[in-house]
Amino acid sequence: MISGNPRMERWLFVYLPLAFALFFLVGPFYWMLITALKPDGELYDGASNPLYVATPSLEHFRYLFEHTAFVTWTKNTMMVATLSTIIALVMGVPAGYALARLRFVGSEFIGTAIFVTYLVPTSLLFIPMVEVMAQLHLDDSIWALVVVYPTFLVPFVTWLMSGYFRTIPTELEDCARIDGMTRLGAMWKIAIPLARPGILSAGIFAFTLSWNEFIYALTLVTASSERTIPVGVIVQLTRADFYFWGPLMAGALLGSVPVAIVYSFFVDQYASGLTAGAVKG
């Protein structure tokens, strides 16, 4: 930067490091894709160049669809993620509103308690959760996940939304109340529509968190027909010390695509949701 050549400086301090970062962060996905497309003959041939595919083939994807329950896992994951996201929004958005706007005895304590549960990691509670689900007769059922995921989604949505509602000016709700609207009406008809961007990011977060969840999905559900993608792919395609690398990478790729698509559309939303929640929360 002492050289004083701005073009040179920019290459050295922006483009070059950025290229390294992209290589480190995105490289493994290239490797995933290459492996998924490489037929076994080429994959396990020590003499071939591993960095590209000479004869691309869809055999691993075919294996995934014909010899594993991948389609069922996808349906399961979709169902669990959708339902638990809906539950999280239905419970979390109004609660977030109440904590941000309404004054009631204990609201600060409740807000703190909800925030604390947001910070409690799932790996602390998975052992007793197996027993609690058995008590609810949900052992070994996909519905256990629909019931359990809201335990970490709802605190998160509530926390994010209460931060978001605080950034919305109260004047419009005040006007509506003067015009005779109830508090509930003001929330439903004024505040919630205004909070749509925040609700959208909360929904995206919640959906991906449940799509990606692993430890509960691994421990609460054991029947193959009830598994989600992350657990199904790992348990079914890695047996003892034998790994089906091709189908494994194909499954990892397909299991990642839906969330990647959702995010590529909402990347700006993601950042603004983070600032609303993380900074002002």
Partner: protein
Amino acid sequence: MSGTTIPAVALRRRRRDLGYWLDHERALGYMLVAPVVLLLLGLVAYPFMVAIGYALSNRTLADAGEFVGLDNFIDLFDDDIYLQTLRNTFVFTAGSVSLRLVFGVGLALLLNESFRFSRLIRAAVLLPWIVPTVLGTMAWLWMFNPNFSVINWVLVHSGLMTEGPNWLTDPDLALFCVILVNAWRGTPFMAITVLAGLQSIPQDLYDASAIDGAGKFQRFFYVTLPLVMPVLLTALVLSIIWTFSDFGIVYGLTKGGPMNATHVLATLSYQAGLAAGNIGEGAAISLTMLPMLLVLIIWQLRRIRRSTVL
């Protein structure tokens, strides 16, 4: 009644039956919060109590067991595997959070520059964070494969080494690998959070400091860093909590091996509690995360208290 606006007070009185409650600040507050409170009591507080009960018992998968007091905890601190796991967990957390911090802040500063395809690049660098952790971890597992490691292929073919290292079978290297993969996964979160903080800094502050003669480094240390600090610390606390309690990356890469060199508290509690069936011991192991978690949670709560105007 005339056509003028009805005062809210009069209206409230008239709708005494249903509208009254929907309009009553305190009643509505409790109604909206109640479902969340009930859910968390039933499925967080209650399981937590169950966990404490287990940790104080010698319960196994086969046998309900009986109360044994603090025996599980006392045994743990005599157990070499547990002590090693504890040490691993701290090394794992310190290592990957430091890497996340350095890479994340660096990447945020880079992404804050303007260049072509910035939207696309921003979406691309988020990938490790948004895809299912264990699935991303599988790509790394394959890259560390003893026979077909692409990293080793490059190392050997570029002439840097005659034989690639055994990434996941050498104890020290294996710990390095799980740290690296955890940093890989966590860097985008740190970067995008810090980036959001960077973009909320008003340009006039930079203009003003430039007029005052501040150079690049001074601007970074006296303008950028102090203003990004709150966001950075929040992202840091979350990263520490998530890494400290991480399960998926270690489970996916090494399952705790070789010779327990990479076991962290979450994987050891799974191993002891569910895989080996000693539920009491497993619950006790996971509860030993609690002191560290409490320190972090309380610290974060106090920071939030100070910064928000309620």
